[in-house]
């Protein structure tokens, strides 16, 4: 087991190198380099300052050298200086913003699991009954409603109409956590509920369930002990990538609720051609995703004894 995990962890390194190479190539192939005076919205620097800037950021070297230097630097956890915020190091920005996004993402994930999975179970047990339809409606809404619309809707509802929450945004007290968590979790709630329901329904048709029922086990015991354990494999599979996605922040939810997380950099760094920031957020996301996938694989073994990791 430990050997398996170690091997998988080592495999992440070539994966990240591949990701960084692809990102690097695409990024530099996109027009509008921070150092093209003729490109639209480019800076109006005179050539001398342009060269000084290029020297400072190492952009005067050939591309392959730039890439190797970058690889060498990130080995020492030096992600460079942000082009957009030239007074700040990318590392510092990530250190400040990532824990906040992770915190918010973890809360949203908890809500998604605590609400989504029971919802799916309820729907499966009451298949085609009224509860099933209510769950379906809820799940469909969760998937189809964009979270920034939902965010504004939540503000109108809970800040303006029924003033439970005192203000529209911020991140200075736990009361500020409520609405962004809700806004961020509704989509995952819907997805998890649908996955859980579908897989539960399938498991309930299996012979061993009929056997369990024939043995005289109560419905609750059948569902909890037999159906749920087998039905959880598909939801667990998506939990990993889902957490990687919401744990790195949502640009819209964070902007609207003034959450100082890293979500906005997924959009802003691309618009401003902030190369070091683009690389950092993509690598971070890639690493996060890889670790989550590994975690999911390990969890399989816990849930399903047939799966043996070696």
């Amino acid at each position: 087991m430990a050997q398996y995990i170690a091997r998988r962890l080592l495999m992440i390194i070539p994966t990240l190198i591949a990701i960084s190479l692809i990102t690097f190539v695409i990024m530099h192939a996109t027009p509008g380099s921070p150092l093209q005076p003729t490109a639209p919205n480019a800076n109006p620097l005179p050539p001398a300052a342009q060269q000084a800037l290029a020297r400072r950021f190492g952009l005067d070297k050939p591309l392959w050298q730039q890439y190797l230097v970058y690889l060498k630097n990130i080995w020492n956890l030096d992600f460079g200086i942000s082009y957009q915020y030239r007074t700040r190091e990318v590392k510092d920005i990530i250190y400040r913003t990532f824990p906040i996004s992770l915190h918010l993402g973890a809360m949203a994930m908890a809500v998604a699991i605590l609400v989504g999975i029971p919802l799916g179970v309820l729907a499966a047990v009451n298949q085609n009954g009224p509860i099933d339809y209510v769950c379906s409606l809820f799940a469909t809404l969760g998937v189809s409603l964009p979270n920034f619309i939902l965010a504004l809707f939540l503000i109108v509802l809970f800040v303006r109409l029924v003033p439970i929450i005192p203000r529209t945004g911020g991140w200075s007290s736990p009361i500020d956590w409520v609405l962004p968590t809700l806004a961020l979790s509704l989509g995952p709630v819907g997805i998890l509920a649908r996955y859980t329901r579908a897989s539960m329904v399938e498991v309930m048709r299996q012979d061993f369930i009929r056997t369990a029922q024939a043995k005289g086990l109560s419905d609750v015991q059948v569902v909890l002990r037999h159906v749920l354990k087998n039905g959880l494999i598909p939801p667990i599979t998506i939990l990993g990538p889902m957490f990687a996605a919401i744990g790195t922040g949502s640009p819209f939810v964070e902007k609207i609720f003034r959450v100082p997380g890293m979500g906005r950099f997924f959009v802003d760094s691309l618009i401003t051609r902030d190369y070091p920031m683009i690389m950092a957020v993509i690598l971070l996301y890639g690493a996060f995703l890889a670790v989550m996938n590994l975690l999911v694989d390990v969890l399989y073994g816990v849930v399903d004894p047939r799966i043996r990791l070696s």
Binding site: A49, A52, T87, A151, L152, F257, R258
Partner: protein, 614 residues
């Protein structure tokens, strides 16, 4: 033109100033306003001509429209009054009791990159933390600030600024001439990589130094502190407008000891030292920043606000935050909420509309099919229902336009010329009879309506126009919303068949609209391709006419000729609105009483506001 101090009459100086301001992306409109503030109509006409990129031919200045330049002395002999003229609107007695805590809360739309305005004037922080040698009042005139006075030499190529002795940095250091000398040189140093250093190229050898020309050293740059309180600036030549440059935030100083100690980190709140009326005391990245009054600023005793809190709120969420009393001023209120604001008994009272003094209009270029047929152009004029557009699309934030000059401007033409502008679908269809497009058929394929990317309102009106033209005339137009600069370049090259475009007034005279936009023999280029000799003659004549009644008559005739030929279809005059809580009083207003929020040229509106008990 011998008097170089009357720089607004010197085409060379005006076009140089334009070049400087362009380097820092100042809006053409702001530029013309500034020149107009100094030189009246002559200056404004010069400025407008300079913007065209060509030589400012003295003849393009409408000779008759010249109001004698006001006796603006660019060298105020003594300091102006201690208060930056809070304007006529200030009547504290009638306003009620002031709050104990003078706190203003207003959002900023994005996380600032820094507060280092000396390095990048678009750094995004709040420019109020630094004070320049001069500043702008609400009428866009440059008045003394850190310099209590200044004087030029005979040909305005050397300027001497006398710095106040009673103003200090927020840490107690005196503000001296050395600060400005060092700061401007810092901006010009190519190693600083200051984005808008081109703004200072009027200073002798600045351009060479900024471009690392080996023939100059930093000591050759023409800015020199003669002593602690006297700054001598030697320029490349006569520049009567130099105090205007010295008033811009691009000429802001930086605090040398802080920069040398902290490098790029010097504008972080724990490091920064400010010389403006406010200082940065707190900045929680990606959340908010807080300013407090700098008691060491010379005019602090006349500034009422003590503290300014600026949460970072994206425009999408700012309106809700305003409604929830989290901010006191929302500078750019959303058009989508306008109807609600107007119908709300409370919000409607907090609305501060401001006239943008402009006209949105449609230009069918007669060099393209199908607009080469006059009847098509005229039919389009009758197919657009302006009242509906203003009422339903703009929700009343605007007025219907039938002619070029917007209402509220002198020589506004009251006549709407219904013969050409009345909404009348039957008449529109009749006009098509006998053309190849009779019955709304056979339109060429691939017709477009082109505009540059701007706000939602303008695009929405564009779509409404397309719908109306399809409805009445059967035209199938595709809405093209182009990249701003590229679209305007194509417009000036007369490559756009049907343009949906705006004109904002630069100075209050029809020479700015009917003459400058439509006179077809402009030496510096012609905005639209339509040309008519009789029209040209009338507007030229109007420029020289001194009798206002006759002048109005000339413009009216010219306007009618233009409408009768379907050269343009005027649609609406735009307005905008801010929301200001009732407890914020003493709003800065210009001489016409209009609210003047801080825009590109950085009028310091915080100097004015007072907060009432609430």
């Amino acid at each position: 033109m011998s008097d170089k101090l009357r720089w607004w009459e010197d085409p060379e100086q005006v076009s140089l100033l334009w070049k400087r301001l362009q380097a820092i992306h100042v809006d053409r409109r702001d530029f013309i306003r500034v020149v107009a503030a100094a030189g009246g109509a002559t200056g404004a006409a010069m400025a407008a001509a300079a913007c065209r990129g060509g030589e400012a031919e003295p003849t393009t200045a409408p000779p008759g429209a010249v109001t004698p330049p006001p006796a603006v002395t660019p060298t105020p002999p003594t300091a102006v009054g201690p208060t930056p003229t809070p304007g006529a609107a200030a009547s504290p007695a009638a306003e009620g009791e002031l709050a104990e805590q003078q706190v203003l809360r207003t959002n900023v739309e994005e996380e600032p990159q820094s507060f280092d305005f000396n390095k990048d004037l678009y750094a995004g922080g709040d420019a109020v933390v630094f004070a320049q040698l001069a500043m702008f009042n609400t009428n866009n005139e440059a008045v003394p600030d850190i310099a209590e006075r200044w004087e030029p030499n005979e040909d305005a190529s050397v300027w001497t600024f006398y710095i106040r002795k009673d103003t200090f940095w927020s840490n107690g250091d005196p503000v001296t001439a050395h600060d400005y000398e060092w700061s401007w040189k810092r901006q010009l140093n190519p190693e600083t990589q200051a984005t808008y250093a081109g703004f200072l190229y009027d200073i002798k050898n600045a351009e060479k130094y900024n471009n690392a020309d080996p023939s100059v050293t930093v000591d050759d740059v023409g800015v020199k502190a003669l002593d602690d309180y006297t700054l001598e600036v030697t320029l490349e030549g006569p520049r009567g407008y130099f105090p205007i440059l010295a008033a811009y935030i691009a000429a802001a100083p930086a605090h040398r000891p802080s920069v040398e100690k902290f490098g790029d980190q010097w504008t972080e709140p724990q490091n920064i030292v400010c010389n403006g009326p406010f200082k940065l005391v707190e900045w929680k990245h990606d959340e908010y920043f807080v300013l407090e009054k700098n008691d060491k600023y010379w005019n602090a005793k006349n500034i009422t606000l003590q503290r300014i809190e600026r949460p970072i709120i994206t425009p999408d969420a700012a309106f809700l935050a305003y409604e929830n009393d989290e901010i006191d001023i929302l500078y750019r209120a959303p058009l989508g909420q306008l109807e609600r604001v107007q119908n709300d008994p409370e919000l409607s009272k907090q609305m501060q509309k401001y006239n943008l003094y402009g006209t949105w209009y449609l230009v069918p270029d007669p060099n393209f099919e199908p607009y080469n047929i006059k009847e098509v152009r005229l039919a389009m004029g009758h197919a657009i229902d302006r009242e509906t557009i203003v009422r339903d699309v703009l929700k009343g934030l605007g007025t219907p336009a039938y002619t070029m000059n917007p209402p509220g401007m002198p020589f506004y033409i009251e006549d709407t010329f219904p013969e050409y502008t009345e909404y009348n679908p039957d008449k529109a269809r009749q006009l098509l009879q006998g053309t190849p497009y009779e019955g709304g058929r056979n339109w060429p394929s691939g017709m477009t309506l082109t505009q540059r990317r701007e706000g939602d309102a303008e695009a929405a009106v564009g779509s409404a126009i397309i719908a109306m033209l399809k409805d009445v005339l059967g035209m199938e137009l595709e809405h093209v919303i182009g990249e701003p600069r590229e679209t305007y370049d194509r417009m000036w090259a007369h490559q756009i068949p049907l343009m949906w475009v705006r004109w904002y007034i630069d100075y209050p005279d029809p020479a700015n609209t009917l003459f400058q936009v439509w006179y077809s023999k402009q030496p510096s280029g012609h905005r639209h391709s339509w040309a008519n000799d009789e029209y040209d003659q009338l507007v030229l004549q109007a420029n020289g006419e001194t009798d206002p009644a006759k002048r109005l008559e000339l413009y009216k005739r010219a306007q009618e000729i233009q409408l009768a030929d379907g050269a343009a279809i005027y649609v609406y005059n735009p307005w905008n609105y801010a929301l200001v809580k009732p407890w914020v009083t003493n709003l800065p207003r210009d001489k016409d009483g209009n609210f003047t929020p801080a825009w590109n040229i950085f009028i310091r509106d915080y100097d004015y506001y007072k907060i009432l008990k609430h």
